[in-house]
Symmetry: C2
Subunit: 261 residues, 2 copies
C-alpha cells in the first residue's frame, strides 16, 4: 500500500477489499479514528460515557441518525466498508473479525468516531521527539490502571493508558504539544511512578508491546482509546462493532485541523 | 502596607520611603520585576545574555537609553527610587543594601526589568494548585544546577532553578499554565530526579527555604531569576545594582497581559 495515497484513494482501496491491514503510517497528515458502532438503544449512554471521559474517549464525530452509514464531517465515508478490519462483539464477547459489515448493518446502528494517538504521535515526531514505539517499530505499550472512568449507564471501567518514555525536558515539551490536541487524548494523565496509578510492571503491558526505557527517562502516560473497548466489554451490549486494533478509519480531516491553538 | 493599593500608589509609598520591604502579595494581579542596572559598557553583553537564556532571564523591559531612569512600558516609574531595597555590587561583591540609589545614579546606567515567578505562581494559585512555598509561608527553594547558561561576553554561569513539588497530574497542569507565560520563566525546565540536573539534596537549597515534598509528589523545577545574579557575580562589573531579594519593582502591567494565549 503506497504511503502517498490520499485518504479518499486509500478508503477506495479498502472499500474494494484491496487493503485489510494496519493503517499506521498511511495517508500521513490525516486523522485516523477509533470506531465504535452500537444499537441506538445503547448509543445515548455511550455518548454520555464519552462526554464524561473526554481524555480516553475524545469524540470527533458521530452519525447524524441511527442507520446512517455516512460520516459527512470526516469525508465521503461508508462506515460499513471503509474500515480495513472490524471486530464484532456479541454480549461483550469477540465473535468475528471481518473486512466488511454490510451484511450486519441494521437501521438502528449508530457510529462513533474517536480520536487516536497516531495524530499526536505525528506532532511529537514533527517536533523531533523520539517516540519509542515508533523508533522500535512496535505497538505502543498499554496498561490497565486503577483510575476509574466516570460511569454512564452500563458503560464503566478503569482507564487504559498508553506509555511513551521521555527525558524530563522532552516530557515537558510533549505535554505542551499534546495540550494543543484535546480531541486526540490531549495532555498526558500521569508521568513518573507507575505504581501511583496501579501499574505494577512496565515490562509487561496489558496490550501492545514493551518498549525500552532509558536510565534518564521517565514513563509518560496518555489516556488511551482502548478504554472505551473495556467499557464495551463491561456493558455487554447484544451487538457492538469496532475497528480491529491498528486498522483505523482514515479520514479527510488533517491532524493540524485538530489543534485548538 | 495595604494589599489593595494600586501599583502606582504602592510605588508612591516606596518612593516616599514608607515601604522598604518585601513586595510579595502586594498589588495582586500586577507584574513584579527583577531589576538589573549596569553601566552602558556592560549592558550590551548582558542584553545578549538575556536573549540567549530567555527562560532564566526573561526580559520584559529595558531603559530606552543610558542614563534614563524611566521605564515607560511598565508605568510611571523612577527606577532610582521605586524599588523598596537595592543591592549594590562593586567588582562582583555586595557592598551596600539601600532604599534609594539617587546618589549613585550616573548618565551611563542602563536598567533591565526581568520577569519574576510571582506572576506564574498567581496563575497556579488561581487554578487551585497548592504552591508549597506559599502554603508554608516561606521563600521558594532555589538550587544551583549543572546546566550551563549560554555565555555572552563576561556573563556566564550555571542556571539556578526554583522548585515546587506537585503530584503528577498537577505537574502536568502547571506545565500547561506556565507555558502561557514565557516572559515569567515559562514552562518548567525539569521535573523528577534532581540528580539529573546536578542537585544533590532537595532539603538543602542554595537560596531560599526547603519545603515539604509529599510521598506522591515529584519536584518540578523552573528557571529562576537568581541566574542573572550569578552571571553578574561571575562577570564582576565595576558597578551593578539589583533589587534586594523579594523586594521587586511593582509595575502597572497586569499578569494576565503576559499570557501569550
Amino acid at each position: 500500500m503506497s504511503q502517498t495515497l490520499s485518504p479518499r484513494a486509500l478508503r477506495e482501496q479498502i472499500r474494494a477489499g484491496k487493503h485489510s491491514g494496519n493503517t499506521s503510517g498511511l495517508a500521513p497528515g490525516f486523522v485516523q479514528c477509533n470506531i465504535v458502532i452500537l444499537p441506538a438503544e445503547w448509543a445515548n449512554d455511550f455518548l454520555r460515557f464519552c462526554q464524561l471521559n473526554p481524555k480516553p474517549c475524545p469524540l470527533i464525530a458521530a452519525s447524524n441518525a441511527p442507520g446512517e452509514h455516512a460520516l459527512p464531517p470526516l469525508g465521503d465515508i461508508d462506515i460499513r466498508t471503509d474500515v480495513p478490519s472490524y471486530r464484532v462483539f456479541r454480549n461483550g464477547e469477540l465473535t468475528e473479525e471481518i473486512p466488511d459489515i454490510t451484511d450486519l448493518w441494521r437501521d438502528d446502528l449508530v457510529t462513533f468516531a474517536l480520536g487516536c494517538s497516531f495524530s499526536f504521535e505525528e506532532a511529537l515526531l514533527a517536533d523531533g521527539l523520539d517516540v519509542r514505539n515508533v523508533t522500535e517499530g512496535v505497538n505502543v505499550p498499554m496498561y490497565r490502571t486503577r483510575i476509574d472512568c466516570t460511569g454512564a449507564g452500563p458503560f464503566r471501567g478503569k482507564m487504559v493508558v498508553s506509555m511513551r518514555p521521555f527525558a524530563a525536558a522532552d516530557a515537558i515539551r510533549a505535554i505542551q504539544i499534546c495540550t494543543r490536541f484535546p480531541s486526540v487524548h490531549g495532555a498526558p494523565v500521569h508521568l513518573g511512578d507507575p505504581g501511583l496509578i496501579g501499574i505494577d510492571n512496565l515490562a509487561r503491558p496489558d496490550y501492545g508491546d514493551a518498549v525500552t526505557i532509558g536510565d534518564h527517562e521517565m514513563p509518560v502516560f496518555w489516556a488511551c482509546g482502548v478504554t472505551p473497548q473495556v467499557a464495551l466489554e463491561n456493558a455487554r451490549p447484544p451487538l457492538a462493532i469496532t475497528h480491529s486494533p491498528g486498522c483505523m478509519l482514515v479520514t479527510d480531516l488533517r491532524n493540524s485541523q485538530l489543534a485548538v491553538l
